[in-house]
């Protein structure tokens, strides 16, 4: 993988590690952005890893653009020798698939969708060759997902499914973006799932909703008191399908300040993962559930 560098005006360097999404490109972008952070380069003001690329914002009054570019290229070649292992977290996210709120919203914007006569889940099941919505939900929730980028808006995670490419779920975005998406909608566009951290515009297919807030600017939510955004790039997410009763109970728990998300520390090795994906994911599931 040859990284392509480009200046984004006089204050940014943009680096495309891979044109296509892959775990290898994501790992490289994560590794280099960590290295840039550790290097504490004078004049660097923002370090942003993304799915298969990254961006560094800098103050050209403090560091010459060409000097920073040279430094990034040096870190880029050093990364080739690194072991693709990260210390990270696995987080369980409960999801009420096929919920009434995203259903109401997707019906309201039906004329902007590829399939005006079905729902987003029915459409996604069909184009992924699955014979029912239930089969689609199983495919979506059985393997874990990597948080490969946080952004678009505050705290929103982009998630990349941890299975071989041929098994990855894909779905196009809406033909025209919606002007509304319920807060905490679980969405999907291209090969990425996401969780909408705030209510607002969106173009991803809508599959369900989580009762678990992931962004709280007021920091009232018990597990967001240390920081207002839950996710960091490199986190691993496992969806847990729940029913309406469990959803309502979780919402009540969140409101009462007693909701405790299931979060475990884990060491992830890309090499071992690639050796046997299903076995490795089963091991991750074991870590999540303390087995």
């Amino acid at each position: 993988m040859q990284t392509r560098f480009s200046f984004g005006g006089d204050e940014h360097i943009f680096a495309e590690v891979g044109e296509a999404m892959s775990l290898e490109a994501f790992f490289k972008s994560l590794f280099i952005t960590n290295a840039v952070r550790d290097a504490r380069i004078k004049g660097v003001t923002e370090i942003c890893p993304a799915n298969a690329s990254y961006q560094v914002k800098f103050d050209p009054d403090q560091i010459k653009p060409d000097d920073l570019l040279t430094e990034l290229k040096r870190l880029d070649s050093a990364s080739e020798k690194s072991e693709p292992v990260i210390k990270t977290r696995i987080i369980e996210i409960p999801v009420l698939y096929n919920d009434p709120w995203t259903h109401e919203t997707l019906m309201r914007f039906r004329e902007r969708h590829q399939d005006p006569n079905g729902t987003d889940l029915e459409y996604a099941a069909r184009i992924n060759g699955l014979d029912s919505v239930e089969a689609f939900i199983k495919a979506h929730s059985s393997a874990p997902w990597f948080v490969s980028m946080v952004g678009f808006v505050a705290g929103l995670p982009f998630l990349y499914q941890m299975v071989e490419r041929k098994r990855q779920l894909q779905a196009p975005k809406y033909l025209r973006p919606r002007t509304d998406t319920p807060k905490l909608t679980v969405g999907h566009g291209g090969c990425f799932s996401c969780i909408y951290s705030v209510r607002g515009a969106g173009g991803y297919q809508m599959f369900g909703i989580t009762p678990m807030p992931i962004y709280d600017p007021n920091q009232n939510i018990s597990y967001l008191r240390d920081f207002m955004c839950l996710f960091k790039p490199g986190d691993i997410v496992k969806w847990k399908p729940i029913d309406r009763a469990a959803y309502d109970a979780a919402v009540a728990d969140v409101d009462a300040g007693r909701f405790a998300p299931v979060i475990r520390d884990v060491l992830f090795s890309l090499t071992e993962f690639n050796r046997d994906v299903d076995a490795y994911n089963a091991k991750l599931d074991g870590v999540l559930h303390g087995r």
Binding site: E46, P65, V198, P217, K232
Partner: protein, 325 residues
Amino acid sequence: MAVKVLKPGLATTVQDLGRPGYYHIGIPLSGAMDRHALVAANLLVGNEAGAAVLEAVFMGPELEFTADATVAITGAELPPKLDGEPRETWTSFRVKRGQILSFDFLKQGARGYIAVAGGIDVPVVLGSRSTYALGALGGFKGRKLEAGDELPIGSAAATGKDGRSVARDLRGQPAGMPTELRAMPGLYWHRITEAAGDGFFSDTWKVAPEADRIGYRFKGGKPLEFVPREPPFGAGSDPSNITDACYPYGSIQVPGGTEPIVLHRDAVSGGGYFMVGTVIAADMDLIGQLQPNTPVKFVKVDMNQALAARKSRSELLGKLHNALA
């Protein structure tokens, strides 16, 4: 002391010089769209350069003062009135307790900056008082002002001098028609044909109605023709799609190849549209003062020209500081 909001205007928000350091989790810089005008307003009333002020877009608010104060309005030509009597923009003046500051119709520009000696004293969130409305973060309760809000004002260490003004050549406002925005081609520039690239810089564009703190949309130029490709995995099938990536401030994305969008202070931090380049930092303030329908030309520059423009913008700021020291 406090300022009571009688009428909020269209979208009036508290802003300072922004909140760097959180773009990697989708929290943008925010802060004044016209930073030069914010600094001018603050220096006029004796504040620190980066104190929090009100940014009013297209239409001014109506404000009542609960104590004597010194204020200044800079940026757009949004003519202030004190108890109905006209006052000058770019000039500090005194307001007495109980007086009402209102505004006449916008004459030029887009965003007015209202500084009060002492600064707007809302809580500092992640290092800044700026409002990021999309994330309900910072500013006054994370949102634009509403009638009935009461804005706390910091104690004015400097009492604030009235009758001081900023000379026209130190205001840094857009000049000339069409407005020229200098941009460095790059990022995904290779996705369009050479002819499309030439057309982008030679066409005259107009500011579209969809122009806000997140980004400014432009229309009226020729659609961009793409270099054919096999869509990379994860990018999406449209030729303007990329594997979702970070968006630089000032980056120019062109969804579907038709209407360019320049991201501004409340930028979405990333997404799946290709970008043809980036407006240079020196010209970002100008965008904040463009009204819908304003004709604009993008002017191609390289890094050396961008750095020279940056230097001259910074010298202008230096002169402003000297003039109001």
